[in-house]
Amino acid sequence: MTALLEVEGLVKHFVAERSLFGRALAHVRAVDGVSFSLEAGKTLALVGESGCGKSTVSRLVLRLIEPDAGTVRFDGRDLLALDADDLRAFRREAQIIFQDPYGSLNPRMTVGQILTEPLALHDLVPAARRRERVEELLRLVGLEPRLARRYPHEFSGGQRQRIAIARALAVEPKLIICDEPVSALDVSIRSQILNLLRELQDRLGLAYIFVSHDLAVVKHIADRVAVMNLGCIVEEADADALFAQPRHPYSRALLSAIPLPQPHAKRARVMLEGEIPSALNPPAGCRFHTRCPFVVDRCRTEVPELLADAAGHATACHRVGELPSADAILPAAGGFTPALAKLVAAFSRKTEGAGQAGVGIQSATPTTT
């Protein structure tokens, strides 16, 4: 099966400082040689801390910003060779939803107008049928069609994220980039949106690039995971393999840093000392060496290559074969007591039975938060 998206050697440096005459003095090396591929209908998660370049990669893939080097192939076409018309046509096939549903919807447009705009722009649906399609889209994301007349401020955060998803779906894309889509939402709303994204993927065969810093969310939704540090991918593997056997010291540190909802959970911590180095002046050699507990001299001078094993688990670390087993840092299988598991199941079963209860209940007054 050929990949839907193939990214090869992507580089993006932003100018951070210019001289009086406009000559670039310093560059932020936001993305420095990133390659990956994504199959249709699958989810690739890009994971890392703030400033690691994960959001920049997602924008480069859509050509919202132009890369300095590298290639992006979508469905066999070279995206960087597209002219303006072709690029617009491409946007029908790849969409993006952002973290902040408050900032990404035009407050002066009704939800109906917001959802009609892409239909009209790409001339997808004849004008007479557009209202019908808007209603269909709203139902698809679990909102009542009559809400099309409302403005974004009349909705809660979770509902606004549903509207943003409906807008992305309007053009029937093959790929949706989800840039921290649930980070701004409360936990109970977060699970609704995650469930919705998965359901839509199953139903419509969507591929997702899921950008997130939350590994628990990523474990839940991703098929494949790429861990990024300072503009480079340090580890890439199938989600199951990565969470069962993380190899790169940075992936292990990230994984062990997540607080578990399990009091007195027994596991070792990989505490990282020091600050995240600046992408303005990334460390020589392995970019993780300043914080790595396993650093040796070679790491300070020689850049490790991202090498994959037979199973497709790739790691960029000189010492990958010599590191201790990751078992100690992995969360012990915890989860619910049998009684609690039954209770949670009963809770879900009953709410599912109630269908989309409450979605349309909200009146014109926004919730007080």
């Binding site: 911590r269 879900s348 209940i361």
Partner: protein, 329 residues
């Protein structure tokens, strides 16, 4: 625990009077207490009243619009009936608070040293030189590298994690007895979050201060809290020691919360969701405030507000169907 608690909140009610005459019931009949050396987690989603409760303790709610009743007893004083001057002496001294956003809580036009030294001089007096020494010492305690140099830097020069550590250093300046931390790690990356949580644990062990930790992250709660109070729509719906809350929650809302978080420690195909919306707190429902979203609702739930009752001596729940195990056995 027969020791008298450091802070005890009794029947706290807070109503906000809006400009348009609307009254919002932000907090209703909240009872809480924290003993010396203990950490209480205050959990809930946006708008549940957890931050408002903490601001009431600190005496930071606007007097014009907030109507507060009940009692907040701190070491023998009723904070709600304490004159402003005394409150000012307490704040930053025996009561300290850490906010979520370190950039907006630090003054951008003063160095971090100035801001810590100001706190020390205000409450402890002494010479500027000795206050500066103490400030350097504090920065070292929160693991700021080369504190002698950093102390003269402005907040914008520091990273998010460093700023949060400066906030903590400032809160600790006068060895507070009670530290309120409002989402102290929410804005931080996970590796920094782990550092800050470790730091809070260290400090608690060293100073024996009581901590109220406000958060929506159940993972953080499990790691640092001894006891947990879950808030929903202005009320405490469940209160329990941390182990019990995670192993045998007794309020449907807590069950929903626990079921809705994706977990690293086991695999869930479908996450639980809590359908519906938080009730409008201008007109809170007559019965249980969670009834409209609760899958286990009975007619009786909507008729009268349920009391907070003991399921076991240390475990309180505001649900007439508790103990919930009965529902699935």
């Amino acid at each position: 625990m027969s020791v008298s608690p450091l802070i005890e909140i009794r029947d706290l009610r807070i109503r906000f009077h809006g400009d348009d005459g609307r009254i919002t019931h932000a907090v209703d009949s909240v009872d809480l207490s924290v003993a010396n050396g203990a950490t209480l987690g205050l959990v809930g989603e946006s708008g549940c009243g957890k931050s408002v409760t903490s601001l009431a303790i600190m005496g930071l709610l606007p007097k014009q619009s907030a109507e507060i009743s009940g009692a907040i007893r701190f070491d023998g004083l009723d904070l709600l009936r304490t004159p402003d001057q005394t409150l000012r002496d307490l704040r930053g001294n025996r009561l300290a608070m850490i906010f979520q956003e370190p950039m907006t809580s630090l003054n951008p036009s003063f160095t971090i040293g100035d801001q810590i030294i100001e706190t020390i001089l205000r409450h402890r007096g002494g010479s500027r030189r000795s206050a500066r020494e103490r400030a350097v010492e504090l920065l070292r305690r929160v693991h700021i590298p080369s504190p002698e140099r950093r102390i003269d830097e402005y907040p914008h020069k520091l990273s998010g994690g460093m700023r949060q550590r400066v906030m903590i250093a400032m809160a600790l300046a006068c060895d507070p007895q009670l530290l309120i931390a409002d989402e102290p790690t929410t804005a931080l990356d996970v590796t920094l979050q782990a550092q800050i949580l470790e730091l809070m644990r260290e400090l608690k062990a060293a100073s024996g201060a009581a901590i109220i930790l406000i958060t929506h992250d159940l993972g953080v709660v499990a790691e640092v809290c001894d006891e947990v109070a879950v808030m929903y729509a202005g009320e405490i719906v469940e209160r329990a020691p941390v182990d019990e809350l995670f192993s045998a929650p007794q309020h449907p809302y807590t069950v929903g919360l626990l079921g809705s978080i994706p977990r690293l420690d086991h695999h869930t195909e479908q996450l639980a969701t809590i359908e519906g919306m938080v009730p409008n707190m201008a007109q809170p429902p007559a019965g249980c405030r969670f009834a409209a979203r609760c899958p286990f609702v009975l007619d009786a739930c909507t008729r009268a507000p349920p009391p907070l009752v003991e399921v076991t001596p240390s475990h309180l729940s505001r649900c007439i169907r508790a103990p919930l195990e009965r529902l699935v056995s």
